[in-house]
Every structure is written in C-alpha cells, then in structure tokens.
Amino acid sequence: MSRLVVGPFNRVEGDLEVQLDVEDGHVRSARVNATMYRGFEQILLQHAPLDALTYAPRICGICSVSQSIAAARALAGLAGVQPPDNGLLAINLMAATENLADHLSHFYLFFMPDFVRPVYAERPWYPDAVARFTPLQGSQQRLAISARKRWLDLIGTLGGKWPHTGSIQPGGSTRAIDAAERLRLLTRVREFRQFLESELFAAPLERINGFTSESELWAWHAEALGQGDFRQFLQIALDTGLEHLGPGPGLYLSYGAYPRADGSMVFPRGLWNGVTQCAQALDLDDIREDSAHAWLDDAGGPRHPADGQTQPLMEKPDAYTWNKAPRLAGAVLETGAIARQLIAGQALLRDAVARCSATVYTRLLARLLELAQVVPLMESWLIALRPGEPYYRAAALPDKGRAVGLTEAARGALGHWLEVEHGKISRYQIIAPTTWNFSPRDAQGQPGALEQALQGAPVLPGEKSPVAVQHIVRSFDPCMVCTVH
C-alpha cells in the first residue's frame, strides 16, 4: 500500500488537500483536509446582530449571496418578520443568479478542463474537448466567462454589487426595482437563456425540462451527436465511466430553495433516501456536529449547532482537518443540486440516480438541469414584481433570542444558527454545504461523503494527482472557504 498526498487543488474554491491510501491501483481509503481556518464563528461574537449582514457574506466570495440570505433569515426569525412579496422575489432573484453563475463556472471553468489532460489524448472526443474547454483558450470556456460576467450584472442592479452585497436584509431588499429596470433585467435574463440554448444545450430550455427519463435524454443525445456542450459532456461521461465514478452515501439533504409568499418552496425541504427511493421529512433537531477529527476542542462530544462551539485545539493526535463532521441522527449526508432535484421529484434525475446512484455523472446532470429549470422561473419572478409596492418591511430585533436561517447555496444546504444576548451575538454557528460533503470521520470512524466517494477510485501507474480523484472531488463543486469559515 502506498500513500499519496494530493494538493493544492485548484478549480475548487479555497485550499484543499486529500490523503489517499492506494492499493492495487485503487484508493483504499481517503482523508480530506480543509487546510485553512479563519474563525468566523469567533469573529462574529459580541457584535451587534445586524453586523452579521456585513460579516457573513464575506465568509465566501462564491456563495456570498447565500451567506447573506442565511444570516438575514436567522435575523428575520429573531425579529419575527417576513419580507413583502417584492422583497422575497428580489432575494430569490439574487440567490438564483448566484447559484446559476456558480453552476456555469463549475461546468466550464472547474470541471470540464480536466478532460483536456494528456491522459485522455487517445479518446475520440479529445480534440473537440481541447478546442472547447482548454483553460483561457477553449472557445466555450471563453464564451462562458463572458456570459457569466453579463449574468452577474443582474446583481449589480438588484443588489449593488457581487460578491458582498448589503442589500439583503431580514425585512427584504434595500433596492426597489422600478418598471424600467425590471425590463432591463428581463432582457439580461433572456440573453443568458440565449447562451444556454445556443452553446450549452443546443436546444430550447423547455425541451431539456421536458425529459422524464434517461432513455429520453439519451435519445435526444443521439439526435445530433456533438452538438452543444451538454451533449459533449454526455459523450465523455459515457466513455470515461463517470456514471459509476464516485458514489456518495445515498442519503440526500436539502433545506429547500426559493420560498414563496405562502411559505412553500419551489424546491422543497427534506431528505431523499436512495435505498427506499422515498422522500423523508427533515428534523433539524437531529443534526450534530462531531469534531473528533478536527483541530477543534470537542469536549462534551457532538453538539447541535444551536449549542455548538468552535475553539481551535492543535494538539489532537487523531485530528486531520479544520472541518467538523455534521451528521443527521448519526448518518452521513450528501447535499447539492442532486439533493434538491431528487427531493423535488425531477423525473429524469430520479431515473438516473436509481440506475447509477450519486456519481460524478448524476451530480453534473443535476446542476445542468437546474440551469435549464431556474432561468424560466426567474423570468416569471421578474414579471411578478410589482413596481411601486414595498421591497422592505421594517422590524425591531429583540435583545435576546435564538433563531436559525436556512437556504440553499449552489452547492447545497447552508444553515446559520444564531443566539443573541443583551443585544449582542452570543453564539453563531455555520454549517455550509461542503461542511457536510467534505466532512472528516466522526467519532465512530465513519468517513464523510467525499471520503466514501473516493474509496475504490482508480489510480493509474505513476499518477501523483490521480485524474479520477480530481473528477470526483470537483463533482461536488466544493467550496472550501465556506467549509471551515
């Protein structure tokens, strides 16, 4: 058996190291190390509660709006306020803009470039992949960066700037959109739709959204081989075995995304059980964070985030990461677009996951389907705005209390647990999506989701940074700065 230490990873957000024990050309076991600690949960203490709206987005430069929303919802819970309809729509629009920008970046900038590596030089699709996805040179990568820039301009209007807007408040949005601005935003969303329909899907979004099974998807793929980047991905996935690479733990979590005024959500909250093929209710009380293998004080054992603590402790022989291990009733969960889609009942994805489980292929498929689904939703939300009516509702914060703020970042379930005493923040605990996905072992020795997904991954002779490992790691679209925070 030999050991490989792989890092630094790029084309993930933040710094990441993976330790692999390799035997007979396969990963036998993996340990994931989130290598950086900043201490936001300590930094936030003793600040005025609304100051969280300045600090929280700065946890992460790629999930910044999501962090703002989680903080604002925790504060809204404390104040007992809900944004007016316009505020809800404006915040959903910003969340969707960021999430789709991240999906786009993930596909074109982070994930696909690995297929231009020389290891694939003999594959029939290789020359085309090089032409499309080579960093800073590939035709499609360059178009995608440009499309992304134009897309994020939506938040320039809706929230002043991206990342790190201050417009998202417990009572709604500080930026009322007038009728002329609404039309400009709608035009910009349609421009992005045009990019997706001509470059990524080579099909109308409605066609993609109409697929209800894998057989329909693959029949469509065969209609025009090589047309569009999605078809190119499907061909590569089939040829390189991504369908079965990197299986996750089989239990999926989503806090639900895009709330409506009546309290329901476009993508519902819950769990999906891959074994029983059923959705289950989520009980937040079952969450515990286990720091047995983190460089953190874990006195008192695993804690619910409402009673959580974060105190660095370097001298721990079994520790190998700064990340805690969140568990739900002891179970390891996977979160992300794949969880949102499964719980929401997206037929094609349920069909694909029933066949292959959560793998590199299905994780990618879930994100791309979400791009196709959410753009039409955004068009409808813009139409639903009522210029002249309020975007913000004022509310006073109590001097003490506890609340939780939940949302879905591009990469999955994000929660902020807030406690206020004497008008100051007395506890602030954050569990980010990659905290779940890239968690270390817990006290029972149970590996986290990525650690499980890496087991069995092929390692080719001479590989120092195995390409299969890179595919699996990036298939989660990890955000390491969020992970530890």
Binding site: V6, G7, P8, F9, N10, R11, E13, G14, D15, E17, T35, M36, Y37, R38, G39, Q42, I43, L44, H47, D51, T54, Y55, R58, I59, C60, G61, I62, S105, L109, P113, D114, R117, L136, Q137, I145, S146, R148, K149, D153, I155, G156, T157, G160, K161, W162, P163, H164, G166, S167, G172, S173, T174, R175, A176, M314, P390, Y392, A394, S465, Q470
Partner: protein, 334 residues
C-alpha cells in the same frame, strides 16, 4: 521577442471574493484581455489546469529563478497564528505554512500585490478577536509592518501595492497589472497607504446618485429609503476612498446604488468601525464621521441651512423606496 509579464495568483486567509470579482472584469474575452496586454497568468486558482504536484513545480520554478515572477498577487489575509506558527493555513500538499511560501515568493517577485483589503491590511479576517492573528502583507491594520515588514521592497524597488477593497473592483486589478506590465507604474502612483491613486484619490461620494438628497440633508431613515444614508444608516461615502460611483460595479451598481451604506472597505480597520455598521454614530445629534476635508462648524452650519431649504419633493422622496414626487417640468424659453 517580448517575454510575457507573468502573474502568479495565490490565496490565503480570505473568502476568494476578489478573484470571483476579477472574473467579472468588463471585457468581451477575459483571456484575450490579458494576452493582448502581454500578460500571462502563470497560475490562477479558478482557471489553471495545473493542480497538485504540478502547482508545486510552478512555485519551485519561481523560487529557483527558472521562471521570472513579475507579479505576485496575494489574496486573503496572512494567518500568523496560532502562536506565530502559521498553522491556521498550511498550503495543501506541502506541510508548510502559507506565510512561509508567501515570504519566499515575495523575495523573488518583481512586484508584490495585496489583492483586496485582507491581503493589504488584514481586513475582515482580522475582525473581532482576530482569532488567527491575521494581518496584511505590509500592514497590520493601519500600522506598517505586517507579514513582510515595513522595509520590504520587491525586486523592482516598490513596496507592496495594496489593491484594497472588499471585494476589490475587477478594474482596479486589471488597470494596476496592465500599468505594471507596460512599465507605466511608479511609487508616486501609490497613496500613503500603498493604494493605487488612480482609484484611491477619489471618494465614493463623487458620483453618488443620492447627492441631491445629501445637498439638502434629506436623509433615509430605514433601509430601502432613497435619501442620503450618511445621517442615519452608517454611510461613509463622503470619507471613503474609491471611484465606486464613477467606475460602477457589475454593470450599473455600487453599494449606495444598491441601497446600503458604504462601509469604507478600502481602508485599514474598516472591519471594526467601533459602531454597528448600519447605524451612524453621533455626538449631540451630529455624525462623528464628517465629510473628508470639511471643518465641523461649516458642516453644522451648512446642514442647518440646507435642511431648512429642502424642497418638498426631495424631502418626501428621501423616506420612500420610490419617487413619490417627480421633478416639475419647466419648458425651455427662447
């Protein structure tokens, strides 16, 4: 043949947002923008193909002088803790603290840039109890020093160039790198705390769309109000250095245009203003932070006068989220 101007971009104790912001640079073709300026991204965290051992080879080539490192761009604070060990960030795959890598690379860099307020001065990561002992490359808050020390100079003789901002504006980064690559940037182009003067010699107030409300001290009272946010909502646009309201963000944005206060994010220490960010601290009803270069007595006198002269339109619109009264129409006369 011209050799390219090589840029190495590394991240430490920050959020990665300055890099995400950079990718929003206002250009039709991001890669062509660099190439046409003679700039090569030697390694970049979101873009480069090289990963793992290949990255370490690139760093080693710079350290050994096999590759000339023209611009070392560091994003994020430098984490000195715990107890000076730097172990709050060990560069993955190396078993060495990131601060050691930065010190070594800064010694071979033609120019060193602190990208964002974290790398410049410590920034958000240094807020609160500063649990990681975070600092900037050449500043620890407002004090010279930081990781590299007050006397540090890169090979071309310049101190660290602090492209401060939280996040920094993509244009601030591209303009700085392009000026450096073209040989058009000198020490005189930096302000007293190392920021490029092309953006730091301006105030966020200049070009603010709320200036008519400012003139009459017609103030916003709650978030989403259209009025000036200086009196009540913590806005520091009259004191903050940056061209945010003339070089806009993400198309047509800026903080004040987004309806929230400027928090002076290009300045050292912005992360701990000593008051709640969204509330203006006052003494006897007068904001403590007055407009730059304005004597207090003048400000008080001017405020009293302008408040008494506020047109009804401006006064009413100031506390609404959309204009209630439109400017009256006056037909031009010949």
């Amino acid at each position: 043949m011209n050799t390219p101007f090589r840029v190495l971009w590394l991240q430490s104790g920050g959020c990665g947002g300055c890099n995400m912001s950079l990718l929003c640079a206002d250009t039709q073709d991001f890669s062509a923008m660099w190439r046409s300026a003679g700039i090569e991204l030697l390694w970049h965290p979101s873009l480069s193909l090289e990963s793992g051992d290949q990255v370490l080879d690139i760093l080693e080539d710079c350290l050994q002088g096999r590759t000339r490192l023209d611009a070392l761009c560091i994003e994020g604070s430098l984490l000195r803790g715990p107890h000076g060990t730097g172990r709050f960030h060990m560069l993955a795959g190396t078993d060495a603290p990131m601060i050691d890598w930065v010190r070594k690379l800064a010694a071979v860099a033609e120019y060193t840039l602190g990208i964002g307020t974290c790398a410049a001065y410590g920034g958000i990561t240094a807020a609160g109890s500063n649990p990681t002992d975070a600092c900037g490359l050449q500043f620890d808050g407002e004090h010279r020093g930081g990781l590299l020390g007050a006397d540090y100079r890169s090979l071309r003789g310049l101190p660290v160039i602090n492209v401060a901002g939280c996040p920094t504006h993509p244009g601030w980064v591209t303009d700085t790198l392009m000026a450096l690559a073209a040989g058009l940037f000198a020490e005189a182009d930096l302000d007293v705390i190392g920021r490029p003067r092309f953006y730091a010699d301006q105030l966020v107030h200049q070009g603010c769309t709320r200036n008519e409300f400012y003139e009459y001290k017609a103030s916003a009272e709650k978030p989403s109000d259209l009025g000036c946010m200086m009196e009540n909502l913590g806005c520091k646009g009259t004191q903050a250095h940056g061209d945010c309201n003339t070089r806009l963000w993400n198309g047509e944005g800026s903080c004040t245009r987004g309806g929230f206060a400027c928090i002076n994010c290009t300045a050292p220490g912005f992360e701990e203003p000593g008051h709640a960010f969204q509330r203006t601290p006052k003494l006897a009803g007068i904001p403590i932070g007055l407009p730059i270069d304005m004597p207090k007595a003048w400000f008080v006198a001017l405020s009293a006068l302008s408040k008494s002269a506020t047109p009804k339109r401006v006064k009413q619109n100031a506390t609404s989220d959309h204009p209630l009264i439109a400017p009256s129409v006056r037909t031009p006369r010949r």
